[in-house]
């Protein structure tokens, strides 16, 4: 078997198998800390605000938003793409690194996958709420009906979206869950609490860790990983096709699929970095999420940021090289200069420039700076979607229909609400699910610990 050379130490402190189990399960057994309650109520508050916004949207209509006849998509789609992008981290982590047999993924992939599932839920909310007639949303599924039957338009990128995102959600949730089964079994067998034994026993599906079971488990993981790898690429490519297959200047470009996929992984890794820094601090997981892990992510971010910078400049170059006045206008007079300058340059700074500081090892070692940079990446990626969605729509072909867009409290409310859902989801995850894949860490223990 091909064995990856190990760069740094991935599990510190000379752990035994039992120690790992206890370390990881400890937060689940501990009393719920106060900060958890505070954060959870914060998240609940955000969800309530979002709930109000959703209620308003459904009762009043999309008119409660800031979108108009010309900029018909706004915050909802920006946030949708953003969340989907963040969601990509988990799958990218697990699957690409699994397929590439990168050992260092093991202590991070569980959290990343959890993030994926919650982020996809948040993302999925937006296209739904964004519909003018939410109550007819089921039209989008090609189900047998009494209208002829009347099917859907299989040419529509939105239909592809529905197929892709539901597949993605299903696949990543399953992948996540299968990975958790041995860990649930561990909890079941080690916990003293009867309730926990029952509950985790229920969710462990009767796993005992027999040889045949592990063989099938490994094979299934690899197969699902193999299937999901193209899916990760496909999902964000399809999301990008919402734009790329349309004819709006600034959207109508073939660079979008790779650009979006890379961007998604970029934002996802950024979010993983943000979360993991918090987690290792709060749960004292420094021995599992080591400096080497953060270093590896930071290096990858630097590399992806270069790809992003290339994509940005390619777009500009193609606008000029393509010789189309509409494209040129969108890029030069509406993004680089013009009404949306600020958003454009925020995007460039956060995504292309700031990650370049990771070239320096010293900075990579400084967790605070890495943390701040990761937050900038999240912001920058949000602005990237803002720039793409709004600028192209606001000034398109006919100057007569040019209009600007600014969000209303309702739109912002829904965004805040999804942030709340994300936070709440992650908190639940912290509380009830082993944050680190116990069996996988054990698996790499021999080869990587001191």
């Amino acid at each position: 078997m091909y064995i990856q050379k190990v760069r740094g130490i991935l599990v510190e402190g000379n752990k035994s198998f039992g120690q790992i189990s206890r370390d990881v399960i400890a937060p689940l057994d501990a009393k719920t800390p106060l900060w958890w309650y505070i954060s959870a109520s914060l998240a609940m508050g955000a969800i309530l605000f979002g709930g109000w916004a959703i209620y308003t949207t459904i009762t009043v209509g999309i008119g409660a938003w800031g979108v108009n006849n010309n900029v018909a998509w706004g915050y909802a789609i920006i946030n949708f793409v953003w969340w989907i992008g963040i969601g990509h981290a988990g799958t990218a982590f697990s699957i690409f690194l699994l397929l590439m047999r990168q050992k260092w993924r093991t202590s991070i992939n569980r959290a990343a996958e959890a993030m994926t599932v919650v982020a996809v839920v948040c993302a999925g909310l937006f296209p739904l709420l964004h519909m003018g007639r939410l109550w007819n949303a089921f039209f989008i599924f090609p189900y047998w009906n009494t209208r002829g039957p009347l099917w859907d338009n299989f040419n529509s990128p939105l239909f592809w979206d529905v197929v892709a995102i539901s597949t993605y959600f299903m696949a990543s949730a399953v992948f996540w869950y299968i990975g958790m089964i041995p860990d649930f079994a561990t909890i079941r067998d080690t916990t003293a609490s009867k309730i926990k034994k029952k509950v985790y026993g229920f969710f462990s599906f009767g796993w005992v860790g027999s040889a045949k079971g592990w063989l099938r488990f490994e094979t299934a993981s690899l197969l699902l990983g193999g299937l999901a790898a193209p899916l990760v690429v496909a999902v964000h490519s399809i999301v990008s096709m919402d734009f790329a297959t349309s004819i709006m200047p600034g959207w109508h470009t073939t660079i979008f699929p790779p650009y979006f996929v890379v961007g998604a992984i970029f934002s996802g890794f950024g979010m993983v970095l943000t979360l993991m820094i918090i987690v290792r601090k709060v749960y004292k997981f420094q021995e599992y999420v080591t400096q080497s892990h953060l270093d590896a992510i930071a290096r990858i971010l630097t590399f992806i940021s270069l790809i992003m910078a290339t994509a940005y400049s390619t777009e500009l170059f193609m606008a000029w090289y393509g010789g189309q006045e509409y494209e040129m206008f969108t890029f030069m007079k509406n993004r680089v200069t013009g009404e949306y300058t600020l958003a454009f340059w925020t995007m460039v700074t956060c995504n292309a420039l700031i990650p370049q500081i990771f070239w320096f090892k010293k900075i990579r070692k400084n967790i605070t700076i890495v943390f701040i940079a990761s937050i900038f990446i999240n912001i920058g990626m949000w602005f990237e979607r803002y720039v793409i969605v709004v600028t192209s729509l606001s000034k398109d072909f006919l100057p007569s229909s040019w209009a600007s867009y600014s969000p209303t409290a309702v739109e912002i409310g829904i965004f805040v609400g999804t942030l709340g859902i994300f936070l709440f989801g992650v908190l639940l995850f912290f509380r009830y699910i082993p944050m680190i894949a116990i069996s996988e860490v054990k698996g790499i223990l021999k080869k990587t610990s001191k």
Binding site: V60, G61, I62, G63, G66, V67, N68, N69, N70, A72, W73, P127, H130, M131, G132, R133, L134, W135, N136, A137, F139, I140, L150, W151, D152, N153, N155, S156, P157, L158, F159, D161, V162, D242, T245, S246, I247, M248, Q324, E325, Y326, F329, L393, K395, D396, F397, L398, P399, S400, S401, W402, A403, S404
Partner: protein, 982 residues
């Protein structure tokens, strides 16, 4: 519903046979609407919506399946009504301001749409926006529902019982009875007034126009000895020079002129010449936009330029010249052109100023245009108002010898420059009566309000031009307890005759003898009512021109702004301010809706750092926001009339400011031009304006392709070179779509489009388009299916204006169709881009992917929504009667757009099928096409090689908008050609 509605009113003759019909004819349930919807209760649509939320419960509660709908047949069905089939009745629109011969489309007896009457020698099938929108006035809740006394409802018996003795008393006391009316062009009404005078003796009849053209009459009185307004014939002219006359928009008879003007400028059939038009004007109007050359002038410059032109011509033609100041404004080249076109040119001015009108007359005389392009023996009967009528009336009242004032179709308390004085005076009159059909500022002050019928409920006649008679017939029984003004006069005179009988008798006596085709009166009468018009040749009269002294008084520059007051295409003089369709019609030049504002010249705004929506104080009178208007002459500001109504109804009240007090009243003439105003920025204050377009130039894109006449003659495809280039490079991955049977297409001749906005209203009426209100217009969510894009050319000081009507282009490679996930907008087998509202889930992807931005989203529930109660055609029981039953009212959350009037296509196809024949070219007319006064829109079958539309497709001027996107639109445009000399 029963409250308002009974049955169609019929021809009197039929009525006598079917006495039962009048009483017993019950309404047919408005089809397309369930009872509940009509009543405004939970509609079926709401039901479905609720059902969506509770699918699970719904199945359990199946007992609430579908509300019971009733079908109520006529008790006795009127012979001419077939439920489900529209009837058209010829009639007349005249409101004291505009005249138009029309056809009224009724469904199950309720008027739902106005079309032009093609038989009319004046309007020739054209209408304007106010005429189109007038059908909604019928169903306006602000209309008076009963006679009022002292502001509270009464009934006719009481009101009559008090008015008649009061009139008698005034007459007996030797006091004057003053009849203050708008210009009356109805011969029979004039007869009634004559009878009224005879009956009461001391009756003074004053005619009053809010916007006057008396100077023209006075000038002609001086020059020809008779006060009249001649008729102009643009079709015979080669050059028109207009001075502040918005003759394509609001001046005198715009429908007629637009028809003539565009006919003379079509350039479709290989003509080598076209009418040339030079416009000197202060405010930017659509007439200036259509002109080949437009020269911005201050109002004070007008007389100077005119006299200079006169002097130039007179010098060339060895006639006496008059002293005048020099001017830097270009005139010599145009004067030279006028010389070249003697007898084939027209010079006119819209300014109500005697000097100016005299100079115009003199120029036309010099050029020999009289009896060539200007018909002296055929007169316009519109605008007979006396500008001093109100002053006279006030002084009479103050003198104490006025016993009664009767207002008919006038509202001086709102639109007189000295309205305040009039209000005070009116309070002194013992008997004040208003015949307003809806409460207005004057009626609110009158002791009695005796509401007139809506014109769609009334009999009437009109003689808009010498020898052109026009009839008006009711198409619906009175909705409210109102009485036609003529009938009120008859009653007060003690005459029990119905006005219909009176009018018929009048026609028998006076008009029947004018013709010889019919021998029996009843046949003649029926024919007239059927056609709506009857014309006899005007008697040729020989007028001698007596020249007078021409002078251009020196202008005293006080440093203030010169003010231009103007009428908006939609609102006119403000009579219909309560009509939401008109309020939401964007001004063709500024694209503003729902407000008036101060237009300031671009240069001035630049100098003073003013920008859109900054509030300025005008003359310490009121505050208004500004609109920076390129092309407005420097030193001039412009304000629209018709706003600032205070008691017109829910829609109009409180919108904008009333600018009538700013009318200039020099020399006994009320003029829109020439007042002086000072404007002062109110620091820091802004006021939001709802513009439908915020970017004003084409950014160098070839959206509207234009060329000049000379280039066009050299190469018909000039300006349209890109069309061939694009055709060369455009490629298709798939085969081009093929159609069998029909392939509907539309073409718009940009040379004929003046941007008047008539199509917008027509479409709105035909397709039940919602009104969304100022706030939402400002949010750029307007619902109009057809919009008129307006672009300024690059010149900041005097840009050219270009208009482009834009509706769904029905692309064969439609980008919008591909992206709808639920298949709500596929392509039809007849080339239509279909929109199935009931399938739409509102992802708005199609809107994003439409390069033309013509798709509209229902951001809110616009029907039955209290927040949109100004959307009266959908939110009030009464207003709903105007809805077209063949077109569904769209609910919240669905996308809608132009359907190329598919209901009309289907209707005519069905007609052809039932008659077992092929469809004729031109048989189907879309609403916009039918109403277009410029005949700019052509619709037809692209598969038929002989159709008009196919012919246009082969025209080298034809291009598609955004051709390089290769959407293959079925709608095409024809290049704009300006007849430029240079």
């Amino acid at each position: 519903m029963k409250k308002y509605w009974r049955s169609i009113d019929e021809y009197k003759t039929l009525q006598k046979d079917l006495t039962l019909a009048g009483d017993g004819g019950q309404e047919f349930s408005i089809d397309g609407m369930s009872d509940e919807e009509v009543k405004g209760n939970t509609s079926r649509r709401d039901f479905l919506k609720m059902f969506g939320f509770s699918i699970g419960f719904a199945t359990i509660a199946t007992s609430c399946e579908t509300p019971v709908r009733k079908a109520i047949p006529y008790l006795i069905q009127p012979e001419e009504i077939t439920p489900g089939i529209a009837n058209h009745y010829a009639s007349t629109f005249y409101d004291g301001h505009d005249y138009c011969s029309i056809l009224i489309k009724t469904r199950e007896g309720r008027p739902i749409k106005i079309e032009g009457n093609e038989l009319s020698p004046i309007s020739k099938g054209a209408t304007n926006a106010r005429v189109q929108a007038s059908v909604l006035n019928l169903y306006d809740n602000a209309r008076l529902k009963a006679p009022h006394k002292d502001g509270s409802p009464s009934d006719w018996a009481h009101v009559d019982a008090e008015i008649i003795p009061a009139l008698d008393k005034a007459s007996a006391d030797g006091k004057e009875i003053v009849l203050l009316t708008s210009t009356i062009i109805s011969p029979s009404t004039k007869q009634i007034i004559k009878d009224f005078k005879d009956k009461f003796g001391n009756v003074t009849w004053l005619t009053y126009d809010a916007i006057s053209m008396q100077a023209m009459r006075k000038a002609n009185e001086k020059n020809f000895g008779e006060a009249f307004i001649p008729t102009y014939d643009l079709t015979n002219a080669k050059l028109v020079v207009g001075f502040n006359a918005d003759f394509l928009g609001t001046w005198m008879s715009p429908t007629e002129y637009t028809k003539q003007y565009s006919a003379a400028r079509k350039l479709l059939n290989g003509e080598s010449a076209m009418l040339r038009h030079v416009q000197y004007e202060s405010q930017y109007t659509i007439t200036g936009g259509a002109a080949d050359d437009r020269v911005p002038i201050k109002p004070s410059d007008e007389v100077v330029v005119l006299l200079n032109i006169y002097n130039y011509l007179a010098a060339k033609l060895s006639q006496p010249v008059y002293p005048v100041a020099d001017t830097s404004i270009e005139f010599a080249s145009y004067a030279e052109e006028l010389l070249e076109n003697q007898g084939q040119s027209i010079v006119f001015s819209g300014t109500n100023n005697l000097n100016i009108q005299l100079i115009c007359n003199a120029i036309n005389h010099l050029l020999g245009n009289y009896n060539q392009t200007i018909d002296l023996s055929k007169h316009y009967n519109l605008k007979q108002g006396d500008d001093q009528a109100i002053d006279q009336l006030i002084s009479k009242i103050d003198a104490g010898n006025v016993g009664a004032v009767i207002h008919y179709n006038v509202n001086p308390a709102y639109d007189a420059p000295n309205a305040e004085a009039y209000k005070t005076a009116l309070a002194k009159v013992e008997l004040s009566i208003s015949m307003a059909d809806a409460m207005n500022e004057t009626a609110a002050l009158c002791k009695y309000v005796c509401p007139d019928n809506n014109y769609l409920e009334s009999w009437n006649d009109a003689e808009p031009q010498t020898g052109v008679y026009s009839t008006q017939q009711p198409t619906i029984r009175n909705l409210f307890d109102t009485r036609q003004a003529q009938e009120s006069f008859l009653r007060w005179m003690g005459n029990a005759q119905e006005y219909h009988d009176y009018m018929e008798a009048f026609w028998q006596a006076n008009i029947f003898p004018l013709q010889s085709t019919f021998t029996g009166f009843i046949f003649f009468w029926n024919q007239c009512i059927h056609d709506g018009v009857f014309a006899v040749d005007a008697e040729k009269k020989d007028f001698q021109f007596t020249s007078g002294e021409l002078k251009a008084p020196a202008f005293i520059d006080s440093g203030d702004f010169e003010l231009v007051l103007y009428e908006k295409i939609g609102l006119g003089d403000g009579k219909y301010a309560n009509n939401p369709w008109l309020q939401e019609l964007p001004d063709p030049v500024t694209t503003a809706t729902w407000d008036n504002y101060v237009c300031v010249p671009a240069k001035y705004a630049e100098e003073n750092g003013l920008k859109l929506e900054d509030v300025v104080r005008v003359n310490d009178l009121f505050e208004l926001p500004i609109v920076v208007q390129p092309g407005l002459a420097y030193g001039t500001v412009a304000i629209a009339l018709g706003y600032g109504r205070t008691s017109a109804g829910k829609v109009a009240d409180g919108l904008g400011q009333n600018a009538f007090p700013l009318l200039s009243t020099a020399n006994g003439l009320k003029s829109l031009m020439g007042s002086k105003v000072s404007i002062e920025r109110v620091a820091g204050k802004t006021y939001p304006l709802a513009l439908t377009q915020e970017h004003h130039t084409m950014e160098g894109r070839d959206l509207i392709r234009e060329t000049t006449l000379s280039k066009f003659l050299a190469d018909p495809a000039s300006g349209n070179e890109q069309h061939a280039k694009d055709a060369e490079v455009n490629a298709n991955l798939y085969d081009e779509p093929k159609f069998t049977g029909f392939h509907w297409g539309m073409a718009i001749n940009l040379n004929s489009c003046t941007g008047c906005g008539n199509c917008v209203i027509s479409c709105q009426a035909e397709n039940n388009v919602a009104v969304i209100g100022k706030e939402q217009v400002k949010n750029r969510r307007i619902m109009h299916w057809i919009r008129i894009d307006r672009y300024y050319s690059e010149d900041h000081e005097n840009p050219e204006v270009l208009h482009q009507p834009l509706m769904c282009q029905h692309c064969d490679n439609a980008p919008c169709e591909n992206v709808c996930p639920v298949a709500a907008t596929p392509h039809s087998s007849e080339g239509l881009n279909q929109m199935a509202y009931n399938r739409c889930i509102g992802t708005r992807y199609c809107m994003n992917n439409c390069p033309y931005r013509v798709r509209r989203f229902n951001w809110f529930e616009f029907a039955n929504n209290k927040k949109f109660d100004f959307n009266s055609s959908m939110s009030t029981d009464l207003g709903k009667l105007v809805l077209n039953p063949d077109v569904v009212v769209r609910s919240r959350g669905v996308v809608e757009k132009c359907s190329l009037c598919v209901q009309r296509i289907q209707e005519k196809k069905l007609l052809a099928k039932t008659e077992g024949r092929q469809l004729q070219d031109g048989e189907i007319k879309t609403a916009c096409q039918q109403s277009c006064p410029g005949d700019a829109i052509v619709f037809g079958d692209l598969l038929d090689p002989n159709s008009k539309i196919s012919e246009i497709q082969r025209n080298p001027r034809m291009y598609h908008l955004l051709e390089h996107v290769h959407t293959l639109p079925s709608t095409s445009y024809l290049t704009k050609i300006r007849n430029k000399k240079s």
